[in-house]
Symmetry: C2
Subunit: 318 residues, 2 copies
């Protein structure tokens, strides 16, 4: 924490909102296309510069996001906001381009077993598919980001060799994928590990090209954000309400919660450009939309500055 | 995080388990005396060196803990474990001494309004009462700890002047209260503030005399622990399952969760001496005891090393 303590002015922390994609994809309740669009439109005016709006995967694989085209075609795009789509293969890339996604996010797991479980193919097959996508997208002006899932641990294989993660970073960059996301898919990262891996990755690419994607599965999400920020990372995924989660940890938290993260930044004096009051109002609407409570804390507790009235009996104590 | 990164061997982090006191005190369900004793006995063999076992306050004020005498008299004391009791006044101290508490924990809020709401008296009246307790306890061999509630913020008053907190630390020490707890009663602390205040306090007393008491009300509990640890603090309160909470933040998390904290330490290589498997088993018994889910994450997610079996379909992918 020494760097934070000694810094009088902080760099901006960029939050990429992922609730419309990573948040909604495991929801059992169908969210109407109009509600998805309304959510993205509201997020677009809350100060985000990046929103992951959906994915173009097989509707059989992720039925909750089967309306990707309609969502991307009908949202009200705000100038300065990059709308990202998650893509598993060339067909998905073609659909995303046709729907005017600004950036394609390609995902492969560092863990061979997790990639087979998640993408139903080997890591090698994923990389071949990515090569096709890069060639297809080249020259279109659409941005490319490569996510490395299970970069901090795999629920099947356990520890992931850091050199393997670094190798994938290098492979992505050599292929022409400029943005890199290190994803802690099932919340296995710890702050010490984060410091080490982020430091190594930032020796290879600028902070503007790196995103950290943490889940709060074991309660360490915001501690990991701080460790990464102090190691030089500046861009973080987060989901409104802390939506998302993992089929292997039922009842545990999902993505780090956007409003909890923005509140931490506000309290510490780290600028984000995001309107926290708007976020809280949006988050408080999620239980009605989804039919269940969400893990985020701030929407329940309120901000520090939302003071409580002094009880009557207190005023009478001398 | 630089200190953590650069340290090859970590100091021990001491966890004081507070579930039997701060955890249970707001539970609406009555927990039988035998169940409280069984919980403390189980915690006593899990590696803790400090357990806050209950409080000796008016049974009208906190009916959930009205059996403090029976609990303290019937627990099986393990050698090397300090059993702490929370005390509001001289009468409570007398009851705690008669029940063989090893340490008395006195509590006053840094916020005048919160002290009136919580203790029903002014800060000045609290200090007078503490003077009586110190005189009564002197020479008995019983340890004294002074907690400063709302040290990082007050739900009624908002920001708390750090100089005021430092002043209370000095007053406690001058009175002969050796141990000091800085309590973030309603989860308003942020890591930057924690670094600053802990650094100042550790200029005045040794780390062995200081405890940090964080709540996870706004999701920042473990990030605050890390900030405090890096600033030199070594002792932390935590509650099994993340029990506890605040009447002003319904639905929000309570104390930082013991098993989530111990898991963070295990993963980072910070020794605690606590048996995490035992903790998880105990935590998983809480919902049946209390009739509701608890906020802790690890008991739901399992440890990183608790791997999941590889699904059958994955084995068939070439």
């Amino acid at each position: 924490m020494n760097r934070v303590l000694n810094t009088s002015q902080f760099d901006k922390l960029i939050v990429q909102e992922v609730a419309p994609r990573d948040g909604l994809q495991i929801e059992p309740t169908w969210v109407e296309t109009a509600d998805k669009i309304a959510l993205i439109n509201a997020l677009s005016t809350a100060g985000f510069t990046r929103i992951e709006g959906g994915s173009f995967v097989s509707p059989k694989a992720i039925p909750a996001l089967r309306d990707g085209e309609a969502v991307f075609q009908q949202i009200e795009r705000q100038p300065g906001v990059i709308y990202v789509a998650l893509i598993p293969n060339l067909k998905g890339a073609e659909r995303a381009l046709a729907s005017r996604a600004d950036e394609l996010n390609l995902v492969m797991s560092a863990s061979q077993t997790h990639n087979r479980a998640n993408m139903r193919m080997s890591c090698e097959s994923s990389l071949v598919a990515f090569g096709d996508i890069v060639r297809h997208v080249k020259g279109s002006g659409v941005l490319l980001n490569g996510s490395i899932a299970t970069a901090f641990g795999c629920p099947f294989e356990g520890k992931i060799d850091e050199d393997r993660v670094i190798g994938i970073v290098d492979t992505y960059r050599e292929m022409g994928i400029e943005g890199i996301t290190l994803a802690d898919t099932t919340g296995m990262a710890n702050p010490r590990q984060v410091t080490r891996l982020v430091t190594r990755v930032l020796e290879r690419l600028p902070a503007a090209a790196l995103t950290l994607h943490f889940h709060n599965t074991r309660g360490l999400g915001l501690a990991n954000v701080l460790a990464a920020y102090e190691a030089g990372a500046r861009r973080f995924d987060a989901a409104l309400g802390g939506l998302g989660g993992c089929p292997f940890a039922p009842g545990a938290s999902g993505n780090i919660c956007t409003e909890d993260l923005v509140n931490m930044c506000d309290e510490m004096g780290i600028p984000t450009g995001i309107d926290l009051e708007k976020l809280i109002a949006l988050s408080r609407g999620l239980p009605a939309l989804l039919g269940h409570d969400v893990p985020g804390q701030l929407a329940k507790a309120g901000r520090n500055c939302d003071l409580h009235p002094v009880p009557e009996y207190v005023l009478q104590i001398r």
